[in-house]
């Protein structure tokens, strides 16, 4: 249990996908203008990360490794995740239209998102077992949510501030993102201490 908690909280805080590993930067900058779309995107990412891990981990362990094909993991994972996201979209549209309405536009965007591929490959390279992989994936998604929501708040304040002409738009956004990222560096070593 302690192991699981360490994996979960380090995925959320110390190894935050956006702010510490710098993966999934495009939705981080692209969809963080409004709180509701930021939350929608993050929930979709969390959902897809968990689904992708649940599918890619068995494929890697029971199909690729026995045949000595672990070098093909990137190609196979991209293929599987892309197909999976499409399938999830079709199923949601049919059976859960309300969820499809709120996540719908984000799902195709996530298909080739590096954060989703990143979490599945990290699970393999860290040699986590299936349960640990799932916890890591959910933690990574929650970390994504946390970073998006925090940064969304920062951005909404940036909108109302009279920034110098040369910093307007993307430059000030990137500077703000780096400062938020630096603040997350402060979490280093926190999780191991928490569950001693």
């Amino acid at each position: 249990m302690k192991e699981m908690m360490i994996i979960l909280f380090s995925a959320i805080l110390t190894e935050n996908f956006i702010l510490a590993k710098f993966m999934g930067i495009c939705p981080f900058l692209g969809v963080s203008k409004k709180l509701d779309s930021a939350v929608g995107m993050s929930v979709a990412v969390t959902f897809v990360m968990a689904m992708a891990t649940a599918v890619t981990w068995p494929i890697y362990t029971y199909l690729l490794v026995p045949n000595g094909l672990d070098y093909l993991q990137t190609v196979v994972f991209i293929l599987v995740i892309a197909a999976l996201v499409q399938l999830v979209e079709i199923i949601l549209k049919k059976y859960v239209p309300a969820l499809h309405k709120s996540l719908g536009i984000y799902l195709p965007l996530i298909t080739t998102n590096c954060a989703v591929l990143g979490v599945t490959m990290l699970n393999i390279s860290k040699e986590l077992n299936f349960a640990e992989s799932m916890v890591n994936a959910v933690g990574a998604g929650l970390g994504f949510l946390l970073a998006m929501v925090l940064f969304c708040g920062v951005r909404q304040r940036l909108e109302d501030i009279d920034t110098p002409e040369c910093f307007k738009g993307i430059p000030i956004t990137l500077i703000a993102a780096s400062i938020v990222s630096v603040s997350f560096m402060g979490f280093g070593g926190l999780v191991e201490g928490l569950f001693k």
Binding site: L64, L69, L72, V80, A83, L87, I90, K93, D160, D162
Partner: protein, 285 residues
């Protein structure tokens, strides 16, 4: 040979399996889209302005498909043309819309009123209005940062002498500006009405007079003079009921401060402001 074939077979196999599952899913779980939806959507202007009361054109089209009793004339930018087309698609009788246009109930130009404070914050009305309600001497004045200008999808609003003015010819009456204005100075009136009060002051007459040369001082002259009883005084300023107003112009002539105006397009107003400035210069000489 085996070293080469196994990976190829496995990756191809996964690909084919994914393809089969996806195409099967697409076929068996297809969601039927009402064909009328696409047709209705094509007739709507696609501005997503929200004037119909729905979030966007897609939502209005969806609501129409689901509920045939819904009025087909809710789209303001589309006007009578869109209403007619929608009625044909839905097979219901057609009712024409009365198009509206937006008017700004303030005439607090640089000549008529003054700034009470030097405001140096963010250049938006929303930000300015949060600080003691604005920067002018009149608490109900147009702030002049043009939040409405920015939000208007049709470019129908201009700032003339520090006050927002709507161009009737470009305005489609979507009401986005009325929702945006933090001072709630903008309202929608039917295009048939040409007379409106360019003041929203809620102060007593004397206070309004001090703050602005052309503010409505609630003297009730217009209320008494109006032959069709279309004017009432609400919150210390005159309000014209467009349903009763006949555009006779009696109130415009009666108003001692010039708060009631006949509609003029921004081009005319700009020319008028210029002429006034020129006249003042001459008088100064």
């Amino acid at each position: 040979m085996n070293d080469f074939m196994v990976p190829v077979l496995i990756v191809t196999g996964i690909g084919i399996l994914a393809g089969v599952i996806l195409s099967a899913a697409a076929k068996f779980m297809a969601v039927k889209v009402d064909e009328r939806f696409e047709k209705i959507r094509a007739e709507l202007p696609g501005a997503n302005c929200g004037a119909c009361g729905y979030a966007g054109c897609d939502q209005y089209a969806q609501a129409l498909v689901e509920n045939p009793d819904l009025a087909t004339n809710l789209c303001v930018p589309g006007g009578a043309g869109a209403a007619k087309a929608l009625s044909e698609i839905m097979g219901v009788s057609f009712e024409a819309t009365v198009p509206n246009y937006a008017v700004v109930h303030c005439n607090g130009t640089c000549n008529n009123t003054q700034y009470a404070v030097d405001y140096e914050g963010p250049a938006t009305c929303a930000a300015c209005s949060t600080l003691f309600g604005g920067r002018g001497t009149c608490p109900n004045a147009c702030l002049g940062f043009g939040d409405c200008v920015k939000v208007c999808p049709y470019g129908a609003i201009d700032l003339v002498d520090g006050v927002a003015v709507v161009d009737k010819n470009l305005c489609v009456g979507c009401g986005l500006c009325a929702k945006t204005c933090p001072k709630a100075l903008i309202s929608l009136i039917p295009v048939t009405s040409n007379v409106y009060v360019r003041c929203s002051s809620q102060e007593k007459g004397a206070a309004t007079r001090k703050a602005c040369k052309t503010g409505c001082i609630a003297c009730r002259k217009c209320e008494k003079a109006c032959p069709s009883q279309a004017i009432t005084i609400v919150n210390n300023h005159a309000v014209i009921d467009p349903a009763k107003c006949t555009n006779c112009g009696t109130c415009v002539a009666q108003c001692p401060t010039g708060a009631i105006h006949e509609y003029k397009c921004p081009v005319e107003l700009a020319a008028q402001a210029k002429a006034e400035a020129a006249g003042e210069e001459k008088a100064a000489e």
